[in-house]
Symmetry: C2
Subunit: 217 residues, 2 copies
DNA sequence: ACCTGAACACCGTTCAAGT
DNA sequence: ACCTGAACACCGTTCAAGT
């Protein structure tokens, strides 16, 4: 059992917000939550366990988060930050070409779900969380959508895919990518053992989405 | 508070299995569980509430189900039965044409998720349930896959879509349909208010999947 | 065989109190 | 302002006992 820190120094200057909150502990709780999710499922996640890892009473969490859902939303936010940085990194390895970017986005999305199972569950749903009330998450969700739509619009300007209905095309592409990720997570779909096998599979399927958008008006 | 039936008559002949189990109560527990899920989320679902609806002690559930997960799996099975009968019904209204059947399958899948929110969650994932150990569910999952694959193979035989890679094409189509359903359930996607609006949207998107399969080899 | 009450080890959330 | 212990109303699961 982890030795409880009986006293947390009031942390004089640094780590204090305008509201007078101890940001160090807030940060620690988020990190503790992420750590917990690395080896425990969402069902096993509890405020009491998080607090134990951070070395405080579980009631202390209510000073920084409205409730359990709110802490999970904060963790989900970190997840989105990681997701976007993964995408930036992936894009570095490609040309600026529309098609390359399209494939990159799909692969980043799916690979993120594979490598961050529990993360993904609180970010993209399935956890039964009420995220719609969290405006930061709404914003970041819109950002994901806009990112894909931007790529597709570029493809349309370049004449690579047919014009019109760019909203529908974006949603269709997103749905397919999202669907693959969900099916893999739920173990309903086994695209292969090694990462390169999976990548190859995702590449093939993404091409169907591309082909679908090429043709019809 | 519901009046507890203090005594359940041992139910002489009917409603008894070979194992000597009281099938009436087993059935009642499943029905009670379905009823509970109609107005409560999966997170609010508990064995104690189910037992209360059925009018027995919550420990009685352990006589018919190994645990909570096992009861949910039994409910999921009923869900699949309903899903397949929905599909049968939908197919009645179409010609035997490949394309009609393809659209029908997509619409049935998505409409089922919309009309049976909590049902869908335990059937197609997101609930964090361990269903892979339930062989009946594995079987029914394969049935869903085969159903779609059969339609696509027919389309290939009829020359409507290109030959080869029928596994990949099936998975791509399934992923897109599944993705749409998931995004709608998670309220990440709002395709319209009325049912006909939603149907129109689904129809459009399904056409992209169709177009994607037509073209590439 | 079938069902029960009591108990155990957990939960999230709230309250009153300590510094 | 920040954190605590105690309490409340829930859980799933197990045990020993009743018929």
């Amino acid at each position: 059992m982890p030795a409880k820190k009986k006293l947390r120094k009031p942390s004089g200057g640094a780590g204090r917000s305008k509201k007078g909150e101890n940001l160090d502990l807030r940060e620690d709780l988020i990190l503790a939550g992420e750590k917990l999710l690395q080896s425990n499922s969402l069902e096993e996640f509890s405020l009491r366990k998080v607090a134990a890892i951070a070395g405080v009473s579980h009631v202390a969490t209510y000073h920084y988060f409205e409730n359990k859902n709110s802490l999970l939303a904060a963790i989900a936010e970190r997840g989105f930050q990681k997701y976007f940085s993964d995408f930036e990194e992936e894009v570095q390895n490609t040309t600026g070409d529309f098609y390359d970017r399209f494939i990159s986005l799909g692969w980043t999305y799916i690979n993120f779900h594979i490598e961050n199972r529990q993360y993904a569950r609180i970010m993209f749903g399935g956890g039964g969380l009420e995220l719609s009330s969290q405006k930061e998450l709404r914003a970041v969700s819109r950002k994901t959508y806009k990112q894909l739509r931007e790529i597709i619009s570029t493809g349309q300007r370049e004449g690579k895919i047919s014009s019109g209905n760019s909203r529908e095309k974006t949603l269709a592409a997103w749905a397919m990518i999202h669907g693959i990720a969900m099916l893999i997570l739920e173990k309903r779909l086994n695209p292969g053992k090694s990462k390169s096998e999976i990548r190859k599979f995702v590449h093939s399927v993404t091409e169907y989405a591309y082909a679908g958008m090429r043709g019809s008006g």
